[in-house]
Symmetry: C2
Subunit: 346 residues, 2 copies
Amino acid sequence: MATLKDIAQKCGVSTATVSYVVNNSPRQVLPATREKVLKAVAELGYQPNAYARALKGFRTQVIGVVFPHVTVPLTNVYFGPVLEGIVAQATERRMATMLLTGFTWEETEQGAEREFSGICDGFLLIAPRRDSQFASDLAKSGVPLVSVGTQVAEPGVSSIDSDNRTGGRLATEHLLALGHRRIAMILTGEDVSPSNSGKPVKHNWSALERQHGYWDALRAWGMEPDPNLTATIWHDPVASRSSARRLLNQRPTAVFGCNDGAAYRTVEVCRESGIRVPEDLSVIGFDDIANAASFDPPLTTIRQPIFEIGANAVEMLCAQIEGRAQEVEHRLMPVELIQRRSTAHI
Amino acid sequence: MATLKDIAQKCGVSTATVSYVVNNSPRQVLPATREKVLKAVAELGYQPNAYARALKGFRTQVIGVVFPHVTVPLTNVYFGPVLEGIVAQATERRMATMLLTGFTWEETEQGAEREFSGICDGFLLIAPRRDSQFASDLAKSGVPLVSVGTQVAEPGVSSIDSDNRTGGRLATEHLLALGHRRIAMILTGEDVSPSNSGKPVKHNWSALERQHGYWDALRAWGMEPDPNLTATIWHDPVASRSSARRLLNQRPTAVFGCNDGAAYRTVEVCRESGIRVPEDLSVIGFDDIANAASFDPPLTTIRQPIFEIGANAVEMLCAQIEGRAQEVEHRLMPVELIQRRSTAHI
DNA sequence: GTGAAAGCGCTAACAG
DNA sequence: CTGTTAGCGCTTTCAC
């Protein structure tokens, strides 16, 4: 790999001159010299060494995308589109995206910190834990950072997410407007089944926000949320099913699943139990994942702009990197009700 | 960000000593000194600078994943799982994955070459063009490189793909065994519709390989392929539909779609035309994408191990990076027939 | 056992 | 207009 020095020698000029030519720096260079240099550059296929450059304090044009767990697949209905938005926007800005992950979240954070804190201009944390150490450390060192899909506890860390609370309210209001009064909600959480039963359930941040919206709507209609009408499901399919079944035994007329997957699993349980959707039970989801429209019945849901969340995250991060960032910002992306056929008038 | 020098000063030792301690180098260091250094390292939160290290000729532990076009989404049925396999295997080996893409393939290649050829230890090209300039350049400079899903023209570039030809044969033999004799094939190609009609169709490399397998099987059964029983579809849905319809007018009893998407679109066209699958027409696909089993009817197809292709690609690349690579290797991953309900006895 | 110093490739301040 | 040189943070040879 040819270096500045090689070019300089070949042309009988100094490395400084070569540097000025290749960088189009403001310094005046004799046209003849410039041409000579350019020719040598082309001949030797010279590429500036990104590392040496970075060592001089330049931007690396790389953003690190830190995501929780290598087995939360990229084909996942949330991570996939978010990453797509990130990559599209990064490409637009001619930046590269470095994927940083591990087999546990701790490992992910440690690895990211140990290896790449010097390489990346900034980081996007995808759905980090609220108490993320990595987020705190980076924030304290002033490294550009945006948390996606969760607000971390550490103040000073900007974040972006959809407006989950409003979405929860919208979903519930839709059901209320349809005449439903016994409206159940299904939350999701970290795995609390067999292996770590006993520990308190750790619900997803977003699920909890959506629940707040659900409560907001109920209260606005003068109703108090009934704890019996809330259930939690998680990765374990068996335990989740029985949880869903217990909920249905409470005879709700409508169910708000905190995401489309939860809603869909509810529909499945209904089918097994002979409950018809939407005739006997209305079901609404959240996310509007790619195939929500081809569910049977097509799922009424709250759409969140997943791709745009990714794109906006990059934009926010770049603002920080370039020093144009205002204050800490918690950007909330708009959600909307997508009415399909899984909800009906009571 | 603390540097070696900071630590050295704080401890009243030389940077060399600090370096030896943090790297666990073989040089003997007085336990007391070692401890002092380690303490300072912890206090100052020292992280070695990856760039400075790389400048000394060390591995960067980053692999560049070059993929064609930012709008070929990561949620794509092929790219998604491939990338998943890549990331999983890279993580296993504690390497990071850098996503390199652009808005055109040319741009992607130029950007990757210009900016990142010094940063990455090696590159994975996802479905590059056969005449990729980037591949040639890298191969000539001896940069570790594996082409995924296509063999490039440049000799000396290792590749990995599924055994498309065998898969094409398997699909066709399945149909033949079911008693079919008028077996059509649907290929896919680059967009040759409105905008660039007139230009010769550029078929996908893999589609062509599968077609070879199709021919192999027919000939082994003493039949000569009928050109009228082959059609090409592409991104344009309208033109593709009419192409599919023309094919069906030739009255095949079975269709082999070169991928599941093509097969599925054929089923749709059939439905519109009142042709029942599999009663009137058997349809077989290729890939076994995630939702092939939930098609209506569930699609008989040839499974290719997409995730494993990604994982193997990383393994091959690392062998090159670490100098353990044998010769140029064109690894072919095994495929298998997945029998479902879109094919039936004639 | 430890320190001084060269040098990886590059940029930019300083001298001509 | 161009060359010399210091130094980014690190590793490693050589000398003590």
